[in-house]
Symmetry: C2
């Protein structure tokens, strides 16, 4: 269990824990979430880690500084929150949830790489405990709000989130109970800064830049701050045949104008991305003018100020369209995460790890000069964990920059390098 | 059961046969369709009609020329298709299905008025049999294709329709079986021209014109020909964060441009209406660029040529947008009905009926001069029935032209006039 093949095979195994037989879809607090936790926990234990699911459904594995816990006998290290006077831990990890019709690697590669590294270092004494986190909700595909798992683990849970509902109208607190979790105890999942040495996350790049510079690995400089909104356009449902144009307040035509403007404003703002990923209309019948349209908006930018500025322009434009079209426009924010800068000292360990796998071709040039540092427009659990500890990230090249799609792909030799680099990075942290 | 109050109360009763507790939604071949048929059949029998559900789920009531069937004893008149040497019938009727979140009168008012007229004429000998039809699918809200019930009754069933699916993927032939109908026998529902004297349909106007001219009732000149399509835009699902604009093939942005253009082209074509009533995207997640969008298009115009010409312009524009945006555009026609001109002789009987209720205020002017003749942009079962018999329609003023909306409303005094007029129209036909 210390090879790239093992890592890739486990990502393939995880495809089976899905809501759909023909596609990967694993949302927070579902039956398949529970099943994936069970399978991954077994792999963690095989790698010498004690395991525990925390109060927000995150899966944790842990070993003491001295190496794998001795079983049977001896007090096993209790991973996850609520620790007493235990050694601080370096946490490796990523997430186990997916978007609908997902690829096999987004999140899962980081968790399986971390387990393989733990196995490789099983008998190596380290000056810190080693933990592996399998976060339960990073995508936010079910409740709109992303990073729920790592927000719980970093003590940032906002009780307002309990009210958020999934597409079937199930409230987050109801979903907690159905999963066997107690909403009142979500605070137990929070890790404290003194328990942690840092958080190191490996992830597929989900973009085309490593491929463009022909490099297998890179490190992350900053993770973009994201905001998400639900936008609602309210017009009036009427008969598609009986209602002349001058009597229509068609919610879909207005929403469509807004979608087109969102793309135009996003394109003209360098470093910003604005995407409408979902739309639904009511009543939704072929011969009825839509009376209501609901859309989601996903916003990211290199800086939080640019992102907030783009939102103001989008909101202003949407309100103008609504006025001209005689409909109402409303917006509710469902997610906001500030942009996150990775910790220089921990990032240096990542660069050291990468460098150890790829010696310089150019004599006289430091190996680390060739390592690409990337801005991440995609959000990551590292953003949330940055609230309680230093974070750094390792990116793995992915095929054609494709992600959130079943065609998501990585090369086995790149994964082998990532495994070596992550192991070397942990040892580099140990030397500090 | 011969008053406007009775008619309105039965429309209120029918609100309870719904898929949703809070709104009216009664689609073809559902449990609530069966329940409504059961209730309406009882009202028909109370009015002295024999009842039968035909091979397509339409409900029929019938009495012989001499008056209500004598029960018990005697051979009751068998309504519906497959009749032997029976007297030809004048059919009064409309439909019992609804759009989602429907009003109480679209369709149902025509059926309940027809039953009330049958009760009023119960003991009146007529030179033809009298039938009442409660058509099972006029809206086409479930399978996209409209007028399924009256197409079966007029012998126009196209076996290609069996393949059409509802939003849950259930095929029309499967839905037939689940309702207890045999798809192979749908031909049994077909009425033959020699069985029919004509088809007379009362319906709410579903538009604002009678209200504008301050008239309670009108007759229909022509029913607009309709076409319906499912439009599909295929792009590529990708990560909303990781995918720069120059790598996107966003199906929703292209679809939104098409929606906006459809409205623009519809507005600039006098006498035409083009409406997108439904839209869905895949995979449909907040942080995933939509890879596929599916929309429905509803087209109507004063003439079929204008409607077809508008479709060609829409299709051309959609293809240009698809090319520019690097996505694919496909269109499937799900419904086509030619425009229908009401039969002059039967329409004269309707005008006579209306005139009988509203004597001329202007001496020296024929009462019929004041009766508004209206073009109907909304489709009606009369369109389908026109394939086997002469048709005519009576329109009832509705509040603010609202239809396909719970705020649909009619005035009790207008319904009283409609009841008198429809009865008088039947007697006028009897005199011919
Ligand atoms: N890395 C990743 O796919 N994150 C999901 C949250 C986001 O859309 O940024
Ligand atoms: N009258 C009516 O609402 N018909 C439904 C079919 C159509 O949309 O025209």
């Amino acid at each position: 269990m210390t090879t790239a093949r093992w890592v890739l095979d486990r990502c393939t195994d995880l495809l089976t824990f899905s809501a759909r037989p023909d596609a990967l879809e694993r949302a927070y607090l579902t039956r398949e979430h529970a099943a994936a936790n069970t399978a991954v926990a077994a792999w963690m234990r095989d790698a010498g880690l004690d395991t525990e699911t925390d109060a927000a459904g995150n899966l944790w594995g842990r070993r003491a500084p001295g190496g794998a816990p001795e079983r049977p006998g001896g007090a096993p290290e209790r991973p996850g929150g609520g620790a007493g006077d235990r050694a601080p831990a370096l946490v490796l990890g990523s997430h186990l949830d997916t978007v609908p019709d997902a690829g096999a690697y987004d999140g899962m590669l980081g968790v399986t790489l971390a387990i393989a590294v733990a196995e490789r270092l099983r008998d190596t004494a380290l000056p810190f405990a080693l933990e592996v986190a399998g976060f339960s909700d990073e995508e936010g595909a079910r409740f709109g709000k992303a990073l729920l798992g790592s927000c719980a683990a970093s003590g940032q849970w906002d009780p307002a989130w309990w009210e958020q509902r999934d597409a079937d109208g199930i409230r987050l607190d109801e979903a907690f109970r159905a999963f066997g979790l107690d909403p009142a105890r979500v605070g137990d999942a929070a890790r404290r800064p003194e328990e942690l040495v840092g958080y190191l996350e490996a992830h597929i790049e989900q973009g085309p830049r490593l491929e463009a510079v022909d490099q297998p690995l890179g490190y992350v400089t900053t993770v973009a701050g994201a905001r998400r909104f639900v936008l609602t356009v309210t017009g009036e449902a009427r008969h598609a045949g009986g209602t002349p144009y001058d009597r229509r307040r068609d919610a879909l035509v207005a929403a469509s104008m807004i979608v087109v403007e969102i793309e135009r404003l996003g394109r003209e703002s360098a470093g910003c991305l604005a995407t409408v990923g979902e739309i639904a209309v009511e009543p939704g019948a072929v011969n009825v003018i839509p009376g209501r349209a609901e859309l989601t908006l996903d916003l990211r930018a290199t800086t939080d100020a640019e992102r907030d500025d783009l939102w103001e322009r989008i909101e202003g434009t949407a309100r103008s369209i609504a006025t001209v079209r005689g409909v109402r426009f409303d917006a509710t924010e469902t997610h906001r995460a500030p942009s996150t800068t990775c910790a220089p000292w921990l990032t240096e360990a990542v660069v050291e790890g990468i460098t150890a796998t790829a010696p310089p071709v150019d004599p006289g040039r430091a190996a680390s000069d060739g390592v690409p540092g990337l801005w991440s427009p995609a959000g990551h659990d590292a953003m949330a964990m940055a609230a309680v500890t230093d974070v750094a990230m390792l990116f793995v090249r992915c095929h054609d920059g494709i992600s959130h799609h079943p065609a998501e792909d990585v090369r086995e030799d790149d994964v082998a390098l990532a495994l070596d680099a992550l192991e070397a990075a942990v040892l580099a942290v140990a030397r500090r």
